[in-house]
Assembly symmetry: C2
Homo-oligomer: 105 residues x 2
């Protein structure tokens, strides 16, 4: 694998890695429905504010979300709405796995 190919896959992996956490997938799902402030997401997820804030910074760093401060709150939105389409495929893998498990019983 040459250097260019390698860096292309590293760039992709960075984005996939940024999504590779239950809370971050949940956040993406929420933002697909509209903007959310950190406090809303924190309430829904039920973790420490600092933890949620760090998840958001991972998504932001990867270019998946953007933020906007209004008053005391910071609102996050999806930067590239297409990411929500990913879920239908991932769901397909999840379902296929469950079917395979059932078939093996």
């Amino acid at each position: 694998m040459d250097a260019k190919t390698h860096s292309r896959y590293r760039a992709r992996a960075k984005i996939v890695k940024a999504m590779a956490h239950p809370s971050r997938l949940f956040i993406i799902d929420q933002l697909a429905e509209g903007e959310r402030c950190v406090c809303e997401l924190t309430d829904m997820i039920g973790a420490d504010t600092s933890t949620v804030s760090k998840h958001l910074s991972v998504l932001k760093e990867a270019g998946i979300v953007k933020d906007e401060k209004r008053g005391l709150q910071v609102f996050y939105t999806l930067r590239t709405p297409c990411v929500t389409r990913l879920f239908s495929c991932i769901e397909a893998v999840v379902k296929s796995n469950i079917e395979a498990q059932l078939a093996a019983m």
Copy 2:
């Protein structure tokens, strides 16, 4: 977030996490074109055979690929071809990031 929701996102994250590595994304791309044996992938990636074998077992464990031994070789194929569609979206994020960088210059 209730227990059921939590476990749904954990299941999704497991699959996304399995893809979250440059070599594993490369493998998925290769398998989208057809089956490949471990040795072919090892040659292309340029890592130790044991390393590639472990990447493949991560993908297999997540239900993304399946394997079939024929003779001395083990051939891997995609179990859910739709995963290749993920790339177009990830590429969109990559492009969008590059554009944002350029705009900031």
